[in-house]
């Protein structure tokens, strides 16, 4: 009986000690974590090491990443502010020329008959047509700028899903067909089975229209544009090949950057937005594009879109 009682006492004591140790450990861990949380809350660098084995250290690693994420978001916000600044200066530059032109035409038209000069009906019509073309240009620039800014800042979230690709490309071709005909550029399509790709038809039409428009713009009269496709396991490649002026090797990475214009075509119409906008759109669809080109031989832009998974 006495032995039993003694055993019980020893057991109880053992339990108490174990409980106490356990309690201490828990308290230590709690304190370490609590200090870490304080660091996070006060925007301090997390002092707990993330270079040891064990749960607390693994958590410290995650806490550090958390604070980095916050920091990077703050950094991004500042960067966006800078971007907006440079954008505004750029926008004013882009809009200046067409606006100057409009003002000039307006002046000519309103001075009609003033200083003894008389514009014929035909001339009047000509200037009005020119004015309209310029206004359309302004409209186009503003539209693409808005789209670009909103895509960049993730304001537009468009739904991409499995959609048939042929119609998307056809829509794009229709948009530029007239321009191509005017320059007597032939548009040829290689074997093109319709298939379902992960994309948003409306936005992707814009990508292809941009690429085709460039192709028409930089291909001399009587040239040829070929549209081809190739299926891979996860991606499908859509190629747009032209027989145009081509792009120099060292410029092939640059052309996808915002507002970049190749030195050789500075005098041609263009804003340096199209390719950048296309790249942004494709990135939102988990796709990408690249270019292969040789100066004077033509360019081939490839768009890669993911195959839809059943």
């Amino acid at each position: 009986m006495e032995i039993l009682a003694a055993a019980a006492v020893i057991l109880a004591a053992g339990c108490t000690v174990a409980a106490w140790i356990f309690y201490r450990q828990k308290k230590n861990m709690y304190q370490a974590l609590s200090r870490m949380m304080d660091d996070l809350l006060e925007d301090r660098v997390v002092t707990l090491t993330d270079l040891k084995e064990g749960e607390v250290s693994a958590l410290a690693g995650k806490a550090k990443r958390l604070s980095e994420k916050l920091q990077s978001e703050i950094g991004q916000a500042t960067q966006e502010k800078e971007q907006v600044k440079s954008l505004i200066s750029n926008m004013s530059h882009q809009l200046k020329t067409p606006l100057t032109n409009i003002m000039m035409y307006e002046e000519i038209l309103s001075s009609d008959g003033a200083a003894g000069t008389k514009l014929s009906k035909e001339d009047q019509k000509k200037f009005l047509a020119k004015m309209r073309a310029q206004s359309e240009k302004v409209d186009w620039i503003l539209n693409s700028l808005f789209k670009m800014v909103r895509l960049e800042q993730n304001v537009i979230v468009f739904e991409a899903g499995p959609n048939l690709i042929r119609k998307t490309i056809l829509d794009a071709v229709n948009l530029i067909y007239e321009k191509a005909q005017r320059k007597q550029i032939e548009i040829e399509t290689e074997y093109f089975p319709d298939c379902s790709l992960f994309h948003n038809p409306r936005w992707t039409t814009e990508v292809f229209a941009n690429l085709l428009e460039n192709a028409v713009k930089y291909t001399p009269e009587g040239g040829k544009i070929t549209i081809g496709m190739q299926r891979f396991e996860m991606y499908t490649e859509i190629r747009i090949r032209d027989t145009g002026i081509g792009i120099e090797q060292k410029e092939q990475t640059e052309i996808f950057k915002r507002f970049y214009r190749s030195r050789g075509v500075e005098n041609q119409e263009g804003s340096g937005i199209g390719l950048y906008l296309s790249k942004l759109i494709l990135e939102k669809e988990k796709g990408y594009m690249n270019v292969a080109s040789r100066k004077g031989m033509g360019s081939c832009f490839s768009v890669f879109l993911q195959n839809s998974q059943e």
Binding site: L51, N90, H93, T97, F232, E233, K250, F259, E266, E269
Partner: protein
């Protein structure tokens, strides 16, 4: 926000007559979420650079700082843990565990770090994203080269590392599968806001990156050419 800072790094191998100056005064930074390519001919020092950044080797001079840790100052044990938590590797030869299936290969770095508490939902999402979910029970030997490299990519992403180092990830692949792996690298870089540093000698592949760092004879020469906003006149 800088993830990686390389400051005036020199690396020499051997001594006296056999001395090889692999890197000379290399400095650059990598920002969070950037997808950069290091381009150079073979022997230009690009792999040496990647080894230094990965903590596989120590610079002779200069500093490499990843997420505020000077990696030359870490002990071996610390370096192992640091690498596991912060760096994901993708190698040319995939380096998968032949005895583990796709799922286990992917979850491996997480298992090392956190025992059996694996974020199953995340791994599933990753594998679906990379088109490997149907193949999750297959073994590496049953997969094509491109599929194996996709598994390696999933594994590199599994631990949500601060930095992914890819050494010629498409070096062993034909042009068809290269397209696949590059597309997925790019898509996951965007989706998970991952920072990726990729070594390649292929200009066409580097083209899809945000930034190109060129290296020649152990020296960096600036990939970011001045680019001018002066648009063509709109007429």
């Amino acid at each position: 926000m800088k993830v990686l800072e390389v400051m005036n790094v020199d690396k020499t191998y051997g001594s006296r007559e056999n001395k090889v100056h692999a890197l000379k005064d290399v400095s650059f930074n990598v920002e969070l979420g950037e997808f950069s390519a290091i381009v150079g001919a073979s022997g230009s020092g690009k792999s040496t650079l990647l080894n230094l950044i990965g903590g596989l080797d120590i610079p002779t001079k200069g500093k490499i700082v990843i997420r505020d840790h000077d990696i030359a100052k870490l002990t071996r044990k610390e370096l192992t843990i640091f690498r596991r938590r912060n760096i994901g590797f993708v190698f040319q030869n995939y380096s998968l565990m032949p005895v583990l299936n796709v799922y286990d290969n992917t979850a491996l770095p997480v298992t090392f770090d956190q025992g059996k508490y694996v974020d199953h939902a995340y791994i599933k999402e990753l594998l679906k994203e990379l088109g490997l979910w149907e193949k999750r029970r297959s073994y590496p030997s049953e997969l094509s080269g491109g599929q194996q490299q996709r598994v390696a990519l999933a594994r590199a992403l599994a631990n949500k590392p601060a930095l992914i180092l890819a050494d010629e990830p498409t070096g062993n692949l034909d042009s068809r599968t290269t397209i696949e792996v590059m597309g997925l690298l790019k898509a996951s870089c965007k989706k998970y806001n991952q920072t990726i540093l990729m070594v390649t000698h292929n200009e066409a592949i580097a083209q899809t990156c945000d930034r190109i760092i060129r290296i020649e004879d152990g020296r960096l020469y600036d990939g970011e050419r001045e680019f001018y906003a002066k648009g063509g006149e709109v007429r």
